[in-house]
Symmetry: D2
Subunit: 357 residues, 4 copies
Amino acid sequence: MLKSFCIVMISTVIVLSGSLPAQSGTQDTGRVVEIDVPASALDGNLLGTPTTQGAAVYLPRSYDRQPDRRFPVVYLLHGIFDDYGTWIGHFKVPAILDRLIADANMPELIVVMPNAGNRYGGGFYRNSPVSGNWADYITKDLVDTVDGRFRTLANAANRAVVGHSMGGYGALHLAMEHPGVFSVVWAMSPCCLAPDEDLGFGNEAWRRVAAITGPDALQDLLAYRDFYALAILGIVTAFSPDPDAAPIYGDFPFDIVRGEVVLDDDAFDRYRDAFPVRQVRDARENLRNLRGLGMGVGLGDQFLHIPAGTLAFSQRLGTERIPHRLDLYAGDHRQQIGERLENIVFPWVGERLIVAE
Amino acid sequence: MLKSFCIVMISTVIVLSGSLPAQSGTQDTGRVVEIDVPASALDGNLLGTPTTQGAAVYLPRSYDRQPDRRFPVVYLLHGIFDDYGTWIGHFKVPAILDRLIADANMPELIVVMPNAGNRYGGGFYRNSPVSGNWADYITKDLVDTVDGRFRTLANAANRAVVGHSMGGYGALHLAMEHPGVFSVVWAMSPCCLAPDEDLGFGNEAWRRVAAITGPDALQDLLAYRDFYALAILGIVTAFSPDPDAAPIYGDFPFDIVRGEVVLDDDAFDRYRDAFPVRQVRDARENLRNLRGLGMGVGLGDQFLHIPAGTLAFSQRLGTERIPHRLDLYAGDHRQQIGERLENIVFPWVGERLIVAE
Amino acid sequence: MLKSFCIVMISTVIVLSGSLPAQSGTQDTGRVVEIDVPASALDGNLLGTPTTQGAAVYLPRSYDRQPDRRFPVVYLLHGIFDDYGTWIGHFKVPAILDRLIADANMPELIVVMPNAGNRYGGGFYRNSPVSGNWADYITKDLVDTVDGRFRTLANAANRAVVGHSMGGYGALHLAMEHPGVFSVVWAMSPCCLAPDEDLGFGNEAWRRVAAITGPDALQDLLAYRDFYALAILGIVTAFSPDPDAAPIYGDFPFDIVRGEVVLDDDAFDRYRDAFPVRQVRDARENLRNLRGLGMGVGLGDQFLHIPAGTLAFSQRLGTERIPHRLDLYAGDHRQQIGERLENIVFPWVGERLIVAE
Amino acid sequence: MLKSFCIVMISTVIVLSGSLPAQSGTQDTGRVVEIDVPASALDGNLLGTPTTQGAAVYLPRSYDRQPDRRFPVVYLLHGIFDDYGTWIGHFKVPAILDRLIADANMPELIVVMPNAGNRYGGGFYRNSPVSGNWADYITKDLVDTVDGRFRTLANAANRAVVGHSMGGYGALHLAMEHPGVFSVVWAMSPCCLAPDEDLGFGNEAWRRVAAITGPDALQDLLAYRDFYALAILGIVTAFSPDPDAAPIYGDFPFDIVRGEVVLDDDAFDRYRDAFPVRQVRDARENLRNLRGLGMGVGLGDQFLHIPAGTLAFSQRLGTERIPHRLDLYAGDHRQQIGERLENIVFPWVGERLIVAE
């Protein structure tokens, strides 16, 4: 049963990625360009992730017609096991942007959709000696490449970051821990804000991962597409990496003693302290300095830690007097994403970006 | 020092109420009508509150031109010591509505602004044998009068309630405890969601009120305009009324024994249970049935219980999986209200009302 | 891995049960009597649980020597998959009691250790049309039998209930929902106070149980001793029983749709509302009326919901101003139980019982 | 009304202090010695607090008979406006200790009762350039003097700290921020763990203090014995001192603008961060290293922040997996203190101290 469950969850990627709509700059729509980005921040990662990464860039309709005009930029961060094809093929972002711009519900802006996946689904947009410095990749390699290659308004006031699921986590993480790059932030169904529910140790996938002692067992998880086990590998290599601990290269927050979970106090402390709900206080100045901070989550999200974590995160933000907007809506992890991008997120982000040269 | 503090807080009413802008239905704007509403729900109240109450009604520009058209209705509930003059004179609601309708940022709708004050500042839109049945007044007397006298879309799907401060409390209270009248609800800086901070017993005004044993002492509080003492009298007579307990007519949640607060368990239980943060679970079906539920509060609100209570209320809503929007913004109790009405609240409410006959 | 894990967890029962120490009333120690108790409260249960249940009764050293003396009674409720053999053979309760009485660290009292297991590990001391009315069995059948057969002080003031794990839950549940039988309550590492962590839907065992559609699959879980799956079957049949829903006979709080958990709002509400953290408010009078309420839990408990749930339960008790003692200690689910019974729990319980005829 | 309230609260000191029971070392009881302690840690304080402080020392009955024996030591920290006379005259500590030792319910130990008051009621056992380094006074000046003058077991393993109200705060503060001196800690009705309820800005005394601009107004508060205003002066000078800001010498967490509280973000952050509920995480190693940590509070405490703060503090301790005991009992701020010292606190502390040379 588990196997079929996982296949279902990952299948969207296989079906949807890679198919870009044919568009021309002479029409009344924008167009999408695919670029390769040198990712020196990933140099030396231990997971074999390539150090050139693809990205898709939406250029709005006036980009070609007004060759001296510069545009604000929104970065869209995808979820685990997704890539930019998910934004384009599944959520139909280019058509959404075309409509919003045509109806003047959003200023014309560039939207950058990077790839950020690896063998475990993704590096969680964090810096790690094992999975690579994905935070640096986004905030330096990618931003520099985009600002160098396109006519952007190249400053934080005109740069927003939006993400879904792992990418929602990424948007918040970058805002908290890598300030000064983005000034407007929205997290859609952000994963991993608190290590509870299906992300807690009650999930038996933790035991399956903890039981891995050699490369063969690891290969089995990959072959079986054991979703939670892979996600946990992604989390461990991104949140508590240990380059000396082959084959997992991660520091486990507990030991298995006679078949039972036994917490390792120091590792458990470090593990929990790495989650955003416990980092709000230290990051409060960075968060207060944002010009826009928002988040939304479906109350029926299949990943049960996501609504709980978002609610807890909002509470911590409130306790530290950090302005933000929280939307709790009827819906699940993915179905409302396209509609919310169009009706809520892009207009809200567009209002808060400064569009001036 | 206390006295001058209170005078400042109440002064807006004195200056602003009663001055209606001169408007004509032939212009491209709406117009405001003042009406008298028979308030049988207030019959027999012990505070001498009149059983006819005034209200102001904004009719949109097409109201006169399209004599067969019916309109959705938004009810605006004012704060303690305010009246409809606050909406009109201070927050400039008619001009806001004119602009929103002219720019098509909101459908044309009727806006009803009732008076709901009494000698203690207000009845908190609750039913009480002491202060009168203000919930019934709004949901029955007033709604019936408006639906009878104006061309409304006379059903819950086309009726919203919005309030500020005491009125924000009122909007939520009516949604929770008097369901079926309104389907869209927004609370602005809602007071009294949780009995903490300046609304808790740490506020010495509780002692001043508890010390009142005769009508003269009560008269002194009124004469001095002791803001918190009057607000507490309003709360006690609305939340824990006791018609037999002259002169305060309220059941106190504690006793003063040798100068110290001693909790009375039963009364304290009843008192705390009457606040919205503790009523969410029982009211969850009513709240889930709403088509829109939102709230916003300034993090620098002078009434310290208001941001704390709003945050706690949102948390309880989330725990019960009740969809809603929470805005925590930089600002205080009053300064952003006009701007937020225009940019956030009215457009959001308008989108959620069904405009169809 | 999972299988061996489960065998370890259940093995204590197999090794330890049934071996009573040989004791004689002429020594300076107490003695243990095994009795059969008619369990009419279990009549008609759908799990095939026998309607006669065994119990062990410790009689203190003076019970035989002072034939007119009556004694207070402590009921000890065992954990899932345990039976009274666990108290006697594993935790060595008779020897503990002998020492405490010899050293005058506890008054002489009778200790009753009922069996309360079934094919899923236990009925959680709750009334259920599927698993039987275990609450009635303890508070009526058993108490009546004990009071009828032994010289007890047969009133609530002289009756305590103590339990471990599922039995800790049971002790609190009986205090909250079946008042008037026990006046002193202690819960040791109580399970199931809140439906989180390993007891939440993040535990894949929920999916395994939800996937059962026929008796064969159910039989497989039993044969494999899938610990969490069996515990969940026990919980579902005790907390949300449905006598018409063979073969599981339970109402599931979610559906599995295309391999994913989809919450069923009504069932989920009912399911969560059945847990003690959400029942404190309604049961506050019962809890305030106790003469002693205590609980302890090891911070390294293998069942991760247990410390979290105990902490949350204490918080709710505090919010409702219910006196109690909370001990959070370094330790795990079982290792400290004997030591804590001797040093903390029995002396604390003994002090609070009224020893008078 | 306020004035009489305050007089009641402070009156215990006036009546009780100074009267030591006449005792002789040849009896079967301990004896109390009064000593002067050089308090160099208070040098340069701005409140005129003397740099020699008194303390009372209870020596147990065997102290004189066994001239080579060394004893563990318990330090008792008094509450605001109290002094060691409160322990001796009001709570009858020497007689309690005599009984406990006579009945072997506690090992023989030395109990040190320092004075720690100043013109605002006390320095909260904190280091402050305004009120003096009271933490250093206790942990260095006093401990060194006691270890030098009496036959103590002069190490942390044999040293406990217990306090009431401000002293309960002090016991926890010293454990968290000045580790390595005490290994066993008990806080009785500890004040000031969280800045809420009567300790929050809802308390109008904050406004009275904030309004002080010159020495005369300050003198008035002292003359009127305005309890909360004085306590707030004590808190401000101890928690957010500013030696340059005469006459209050404190950094206020808010401004009064047109009669209203306006939070100063930086000062408010600093103010709130100084309270124990927000310091648990950073101090977790210190707290986990204790051999005993306990706290108790009456649910009917007149100072409403005390039960709420103790509950919140326990919750934070639990979240950080710090072992401790929490007792919530029916009772108020003072009445149960003597009884609890005898039945709970001293025996519990005595069990946890190592009595060995």
